[in-house]
Symmetry: C2
Subunit: 118 residues, 2 copies
């Protein structure tokens, strides 16, 4: 399920500043834009309105020194979209952070789960 | 500021099951209960109603094989509260997971921040 992939066991949200953050939702949106070549299709796959997906892309584009997504707006389908080099690098680094965090904490996570009922 | 401590740079929420999770808010509530000896005082320090703090404690108590917080309900101040051994261990492990995750990903986090504007 798409929803499960948005909420991995270890959910990481990185606060880049007080009001700027990247987490599983934005990372998945970037990944789906890369896969589908479309902001609207990516948003739809996440159950998100076109307006919401665009708003998130604009937020991310403004967070970094250059845009993460380039798009040709217009046309009945909303135009095409692709990750820029910066966008691909942000996605790669976010996934790496997730992997490093999960790997380093795996033993502690198992210990915590061992305290659960069942 | 208390709020900053609830949202560290690397915000970790651990999904123990589809509907059971622990993150910075619950960890901070446990820590404040330990420090203040009171669920109401701990909740107040987080800007949370007494009812909300109690509800979170009940949720956490039900998530693990034994309660995390023991309390003597009653009295005009709402009685005293303390972490159980399980509660102290859950808090310790959550903080350890945070530290391990932050330490392992520090270089990647810096690389990601290096892509930000200014």
């Amino acid at each position: 399920m798409a929803e499960d992939r948005v909420h991995p066991e270890l959910f990481i949200r990185l606060f880049l500043s007080r009001n700027e953050m990247i987490g599983p939702g934005k990372a998945r949106l970037l990944q789906l834009i890369d896969e589908t070549g479309s902001i609207s299709a990516a948003g739809r796959a996440m159950g998100m309105s076109y307006k919401r997906a665009w708003s998130l892309v604009e937020t991310m584009n403004a967070m970094f020194s250059s845009p993460l997504v380039e798009s040709s707006r217009g046309g009945t389908k909303g135009g095409g979209a692709a990750l820029t080099d910066t966008g691909a690098e942000v996605l790669r680094l976010y996934r790496l952070i997730e992997e490093q965090a999960a790997s380093a904490s795996a033993t502690s996570v198992e210990a915590l789960k061992g305290l659960m009922g069942q």
